[in-house]
């Protein structure tokens, strides 16, 4: 088992890219229950020692998805190669590193959405704290 340690100083968040931002402003939320769904995709570039974390957050009622936000977070990890292994013929990384990157991205997205939703009828919504392992298991379907 790879026990390489995650060192914060060797990680840098290089870029945040909004890919999709949809909000149905006409949707009346009054007295309606809705749910929030979160999914991710993690991609890497060994040569550039970088990761691209895509996070998709959507809000839906029983009727339809009324808000959807997809953001890409680009990280550089100086000691990326220390976390590499192989699993089923694919390049794998330790859960510790991917969980850290997912956690960083998700926390950043929480702040972004809090600000983006301030002037909407989703005003005041704060993304809940979630276990990074749950995020690692919920992938964006291609």
């Amino acid at each position: 088992m790879n026990t390489a340690k995650v060192i914060a100083e060797k990680i840098s968040l290089e870029k945040i890219k909004p890919i999709r931002e949809n909000l149905d402003l006409g949707f009346d939320l009054k007295d309606k229950e809705f749910q929030m769904n979160i999914a991710q995709s993690i991609k890497h570039n060994l040569e550039k020692k970088s990761f691209k974390i895509s996070l998709l957050v959507s809000f839906s009622s029983t009727e339809h998805v009324f808000a959807e936000y997809l953001y890409d977070f680009y990280f550089k990890v100086e000691n990326m190669l220390e976390f590499v292994s192989e699993k089923d013929g694919k390049t794998a990384f330790t859960g510790q590193l991917l969980g850290t990157l997912i956690g960083l991205s998700y926390s950043t997205l929480r702040g972004i959405l809090y600000s983006r939703l301030a002037e909407t009828n989703l005003n005041g919504i704060i993304l809940p704290v979630v276990n990074p392992n749950e995020l690692l298991n919920s992938k964006i379907s291609e």
Binding site: S41, K43, H44, S85, T91, F93, T94, G99, I102, L136
Partner: protein, 139 residues
């Protein structure tokens, strides 16, 4: 209440005089002098407070500092422009602080190096899918 014409005129002229002085000060007053007067009064008041708190009189301060009583009275009237030397001498005589100079705060900074991301590495085609070989364990 009935006022005699003379008295009423006197009051009127007094009011007029105050207004004229106010107007003149508004136009020609020096803000630095205004501050100086305020500071001098504040220093006089502080010295008076210290004397009261120590159960002393102006004459006691004059004796302590080998000064004429009239000079100390002038200090306490607020009409004297104090020099730092005089203030420090009074502080030493009374063993009390008249003016407190704010302490210097030392700031500790840390540096964050930022980089400008190069365009090429954010292109979608250069990324491969990543998988996890284990679970994340929180610290």
């Amino acid at each position: 209440m009935k006022l005699s014409r003379r008295k009423a005129n006197q009051e009127k002229s007094g009011l007029l005089e105050v207004n004229v002085i106010d107007q003149w000060l508004e136009q020609h007053g020096d803000p630095a002098i205004e501050r100086l007067v305020k500071k001098n009064l504040a220093i006089s008041n502080k010295i008076a407070q210290i004397l009261t708190s120590k159960g002393m009189k102006a004459s006691d301060l004059a004796t302590l500092m080998h000064k004429q009583k009239s000079e100390v009275s002038k200090w306490l009237s607020g009409q004297h422009t104090f020099t730092t030397k005089t203030i420090v001498a009074i502080e030493a005589a009374l063993d009390a602080e008249i003016i407190c100079v704010e302490p210097i705060h030392k700031n500790i900074y840390f540096t964050v190096h930022s980089r400008i991301p190069s365009n090429d590495f954010t292109q979608d085609e250069v990324f491969e899918e990543s998988i996890s070989d284990g679970e994340y364990v929180s610290a």
